[in-house]
Amino acid sequence: MITAERKPMEDLIKFVSPYRRILLVGCNECVTVCSAGGRKEVALLSSALQMHFMKEGKPFEIKEMTLERQCDPEYVEELVPYIDQVDAVLSMSCGCGVQEIARRFKEKPVLPAVNTKFMGASERQGVWAERCVGCGDCGLARTAGICPIARCSKQLLNGPCGGSTRGKCEVDPDIDCAWQLIWDRLKALGMTDKYEENLPAKDWRPARGAGPRKIVREDLAS
């Protein structure tokens, strides 16, 4: 999933200060799962903002909504009845949702309430870690199911570097060395021979090397 973290309160206050009426929009997908921008976080942020402006004695109205999926035009359409009653939208979805709102409502300011982080997985309760950077040409079959592009600090396709220490990355002892993980799994799979196949220089075009990407499925496209 896509992970995110809410921006600091003072940033959000600065964002909404120029406006009197705000539509605060959460999303029921990834940001709900990582507790950054679901229904619950929308309610919390809404009261925090109201409290702040009440203390300041500034008139402030906020309407809360949480869409099924903010990156999907079908659901963004649900905002239509409310959009004219607000001065700006504060979105708690990932950057994709924020941009869907910007695309649909051309004359309404939209502000991001979260920092979109990465595509990752939950390692344990409350901990998420990066797993994939969407390189567009998945090579996990060649690296024992562990991605060196997303998980090696130097994205080495032929690691490990000389700084790998006791399973940890030289950059930070809290990061597992991706190449230690790959090696351990190759061993467990009885495939250590595979390690010596040199992976060639990557073609980055399927990543972002050929500009912003798009998928067109002729069978589905309308």
């Binding site: 130097k154 490990p160 700084g163």
Partner: protein
């Protein structure tokens, strides 16, 4: 002979090669490069010129190599994959060769996190092994990485680094095999303090016959002080400094520690001279370049062969 490189000629002749390094200055003063390089005249076969080492901005390796070449010495161009994509690397390689620089070292480089621009993006378009493949293709096939023909291909003698002490130890020989497969000509290793472990690695190297396919230069860095030994042990990733090394240098009075450090590195050189597959030494005296001639002399490597 694949190239005109003096280092290649000396290694091919079967004599132990000696290299050292010169870290370019953090500014535009050519004299700083020249002074450092001058100390190495006549006592080494090639002078490694580091490329933004420890991820700190310095005069470019290429520019400093040219200055050193103009002095009549043999510079060795270091190039990290951290700061350049494949286009920039190849243009620097042909540019270097156009100035007669014919020996280089392909590295991935320290992470920007450790340097003075921690907010910089690391490029890593290709890795060090792919860089070796690229330089070899440029030399042997006369082709750019992208497949187009080069008009006047650069004939580089190609080096890479190896750290026998990093983890997991059990794949360190296999990683060297990958570099050999990529086409590397010579290796300069991480500084060796744990000689037993290095010898064990060399055993693995010989078992696979890799020492016959690549020249291995053993990395040597003299300790200046007990403080440096402790720092290297605890703070430098991938460095293996055994306790008895720290104990020995800490055991002598401060004013004698530098001499003790030199003695220790000479003992290491002496021991490694007899290890089959060691083709030479890479002496990295960090900010202590003026000691290199003394070390080379006391190790019995003078005079250097000339070609």
């Amino acid at each position: 002979m694949k190239t005109e490189s003096t280092l290649e000629k000396i290694l091919a002749s079967g004599q132990l090669a000696v290299t050292s390094e010169c870290g370019p200055p953090r500014g535009a003063l050519p004299s700083k490069v020249q002074e450092k390089a001058e100390m190495l005249r006549g006592c080494v076969d090639a002078v490694n010129v580091t490329d933004n080492q420890t991820a700190m901005v310095r005069m470019s390796s290429l520019a400093a190599c040219i200055l050193i070449k103009q002095m009549g010495l043999n510079p060795l161009l270091q190039m990290v994959t951290r700061d350049r994509n494949r286009l920039a690397m190849q243009s620097d390689i042909i540019g270097a060769y156009s100035h007669g620089i014919n020996t280089m070292l392909c590295l991935s480089g320290d992470h920007p996190h450790f340097g003075d621009h921690p907010g910089a993006a690391a490029v890593h378009d290709i890795d060090s092994i792919q860089a070796v493949e690229m330089v070899k293709k440029m030399r042997d096939e006369g082709l750019f990485q992208g497949g187009q023909k080069i008009d006047g291909p650069p004939k580089m003698f190609i080096g890479a680094a190896a750290n026998p002490f990093a983890d997991p130890f059990e794949l360190r020989v296999a990683r060297l095999a990958k570099k050999v497969k990529a086409g590397v000509d010579f290796i300069q290793t991480q500084c060796i303090y744990n000689v037993d472990k290095f010898e064990k690695w060399m055993e693995g190297v010989r078992e696979r016959g890799l020492h016959e396919k690549v020249y291995i230069l053993a990395g040597i860095t003299p300790m200046k002080s007990a403080g440096m030994a402790k720092y290297m042990k605890n703070k430098v990733p991938g460095m293996d400094v055994p306790d008895d090394v720290v104990k020995r240098i800490s055991g002598v009075p401060k004013e004698n520690q530098a001499e003790e450090g030199i003695k220790m590195c000479l003992e290491t050189i002496d021991r490694l001279k007899n290890v089959k597959g060691v083709a030479g030494f890479h002496i990295m005296a960090i900010e202590w370049e003026h000691k290199v001639p003394e070390i080379v002399e006391r190790a019995g490597f003078l005079p250097r062969p000339s070609f």
